[in-house]
Amino acid sequence: MPLLRLARRATLLSAALMTASALLPLPASAAEEQPRRGGTLVIGSTQTPRHLNGAVQSGIATALPSTQIFASPLRFDDKWNPQPYLAESWKLADDGKSLTLKLRKDAVFHDGKPVTSADVAFSIMAIKANHPFTTMLGPVEKVETPDPYTAVIRMSVPHPAIVLAMSPALCPILPKHIYGDGQELKSHPRNTTDVVGSGPFRVTEFKPAQRIVLERFDKFFLAGKPYLDKVIVNVTPDMASLVLGLERGDIQMLPFATLPTDLKRFANDPKVSLTPKGYDGIGALNWLAFNTAKKPLSDVQVRKAIATAIDKNFIAKALMGGFATVSDGPLVASSPFAVPDLVRYPLDLKKAAEMLDAAGYKASANGERFKLTIDYLPGADDQQKNVAEYIRGQLKKVGIAVEVRASADFPAWAKRLASHDFDLSMDLVFNWGDPIIGVHRTYLSTNIKPIVWTNTQSYANPKVDELLNTAGGLIDPTQRKAYYATFQKIVTDELPIEFINQVPYHTIASKKVGNVPATIWGPLSPLDEVYLK
């Protein structure tokens, strides 16, 4: 109890602090101050990129540098609106089966060659053939290039997700004259050495697992940008030393921070700013997955009883220091398709026990109904392990004996999930902007595969399949949202997954950094507007 109290108090304190900072008038500098040219921004990252070519490699490790090096047809603001980037204008046809991009004429690659529609056509077909997210450009049949500055993407079926798929993190435009030499793109030598794009920064040094040095590209197509002379991505697997580096001033920006201890520490630091903005696009959810193919979890009443025994508010407030927000559905709250009408399971231990009784799982003499195991993704204890331990404690109260199974490292955990060798597992999954890319995969019965981050819950409902497949092809956003609304209601009612919280990613930045990225893709978008005061 005293411990709980302490946690509560800490939560209240941090909540109070957060409101206080929200109420304070914005520093005058925020809006009016003129960005300044020059300076070096050092970004700390725990993620090791395999290489720098985001066209054939997804994930945040590669996307962070790749979006600086390669420009994309479109970029997005902080409210999911597409903005011109390499494309000055664009038009999705009324039938949703073609997207016409009108390219700006002054864009050049880092080697001086112009960016043309041929490069766009080549890149889109390359991404379709090589990018791990196969649903993203799945319906694309070909890209027509009526003139050097017009590209028309033709699709076999209506595919509204195509607009979001033009984002910096998902659609880097590669120079055809370099990557079109016939070599296998996934292992192309130019993914690592002498990487050439048309983005605001060019690579001058890439040491895998150590650092990436990016220098201002003087002929970048947006006049006067980028403001920074240099961006250095300092790769260190250990978050603690990055945090120390930021405190000492060696590092100016630390994206993807979630640890409540780190966040609390910096929330009170006058030299540092802390923002949860910039992570709507990747839409990271922390959840509890049920293996619905296994007894007794195949019984929806059992799953509902388990959900009823878990206090998500406690997890978000106490375990995550109040920095996380509770999540009740398969879409992050900021997604244009998220709806509030979901089936919710408020904490009620008595009711949970009754539900288990009703489902036929009576407690035996020692108070135990049945045994389960729970796995968790290693390496993110604040989001995963701690929650798994908490769930074990809660379920014990309703007579379910849970064994927490640790995995030595990521491959060991991935193996268990992929081979469906689990009862319960914590998991951390990204929405990746459009539901077609990051949401459908978890619920389609056609995607029950022996692979991590597919439908490893073995959830199958023909109605859900139909809703998703239809919604994926609807051009009108309102109509599309209606389908996703029904989907969200069904999934939260049938509970293949108990949604826990939105991952509290924050960008920690020195107060010296102006225009800390806050668009939906945040740090995974061009940092051409970031400057040093």
């Binding site: 040491k207 580096g245 595969k449 991590v452 981050w453």
Partner: protein, 324 residues
């Protein structure tokens, strides 16, 4: 048996040993759950089954383990360590790039441990029951018992955070351009903490060893003779005793090279030192088989060579060994 024939037979033994190490490593590495393609899929945030099958075929992971081992051995025999699954870079060049950093760390640590450890040992052997000796004993016991990573973290907190006089991690300043005297000083500045951390355990060990070895020698007849001749204390201690007492320390030094390399894994991880140890550790987490095997092969060769050299050196230092 002549030195040459002796060396040849040792070489043959060494080759057999390295081969055994390769096979053992191969089996152990593949016994770990999960495979590199799953890790790559993980780093990508998901992947289609077709692509995974394609990757597995590309890496030869779809073949049976003995076949994979045969292919690997064949390649290694030709000096080809293959390509890293994760980075798509040749393993040999990745190792070559990281050898200097590890060598710098290991050598500076070994030298510091050897010289400082011996000095402390000799110092405490002069008055084995004096306060200085007791103090050194306690200190070396603590150094010997403390886990390397804990020591490293504590040193970082003390010398990089509370008193920010040394850098937190890395081998160079983040914004360094490299080159010139400035770069040398920069690297030296970054080298202090990792070296201190890695050497402390061995320093403690050598000081204990040097102390007991010195006490042994100091009790022998020829020392009494030397003292009886009226030689100065300094001469007795450093010329007569230390020379003889050093033999076991040198042996241990050579034989422990492997341990120091292993310790480097922890220290490199704690201090983000871009050496072989960190490469090995991170490659295990990625199930990057060719890289793990390459680093292990390289390290085992280094250790075997060091041991052989120690053996050979010993034969020169102590002629009695030759006779046996």
């Amino acid at each position: 048996m002549g030195t040459l024939r002796y060396a040849a037979s040792r070489l043959l033994q060494a080759l057999g040993l390295v081969l055994a190490v390769v096979v053992l490593n191969f089996v152990l590495v593949h016994a770990a759950p999960g495979d590199p393609v799953e890790t790559i899929a993980g780093a990508s945030g998901g992947m289609s089954p077709e692509l995974m099958t394609q990757l597995r075929a590309q890496y030869g992971l779809d073949r049976s383990l003995p076949v994979q081992l045969g292919v690997y051995l064949g390649k290694v025999a030709q000096g080809d360590l293959g390509y890293s699954y994760f980075f798509n870079l040749p393993v040999t060049s990745m190792i070559a790039e990281r050898v200097p950093a590890t060598l710098l760390l290991v050598l500076s640590s070994v030298l510091l441990a050897f010289f400082a450890g011996t000095a402390l040992g000799v110092l405490s052997s002069r008055r084995p029951n004096g306060w200085l000796s007791q103090f050194i004993t306690v200190l070396s016991l603590v150094g010997f018992a403390a886990p390397v990573f804990w020591l490293g973290i504590m040193l970082v907190i003390l010398l990089a955070s509370v008193f920010p006089i040394l850098p937190v991690a890395g081998m160079r300043s983040i914004d360094s351009a490299g080159g010139g005297l400035k770069d040398v000083l920069d690297v030296a500045h970054h080298l202090v903490l990792p070296t201190l951390t890695l050497s402390l355990v061995y320093l403690a060990q050598y000081s204990r060893l040097a102390r007991s070895s010195m006490l042994d020698v100091l009790g022998s007849d020829f020392i009494r003779t030397a003292r009886a001749k009226g030689l100065a204390d300094r001469v007795v201690l450093y010329k007569h005793a230390l020379r003889n007492a050093l033999l076991p320390v040198v042996t241990v030094l050579g034989l422990q090279f492997g341990n120091v390399l292993a310790g480097a894994i922890l220290v490199e991880t704690v201090f983000n030192w871009p050496g072989l140890g960190r490469l090995a550790f991170e490659s295990v987490l990625r199930r990057d088989y060719p890289t793990i095997l390459g680093v292990l092969l390289f390290s085992s060769i280094v250790v075997v060579v060091m041991n052989q050299l120690t053996d050979l050196c010993y034969r020169f230092i102590d002629p009695r060994i030759k006779a046996s």
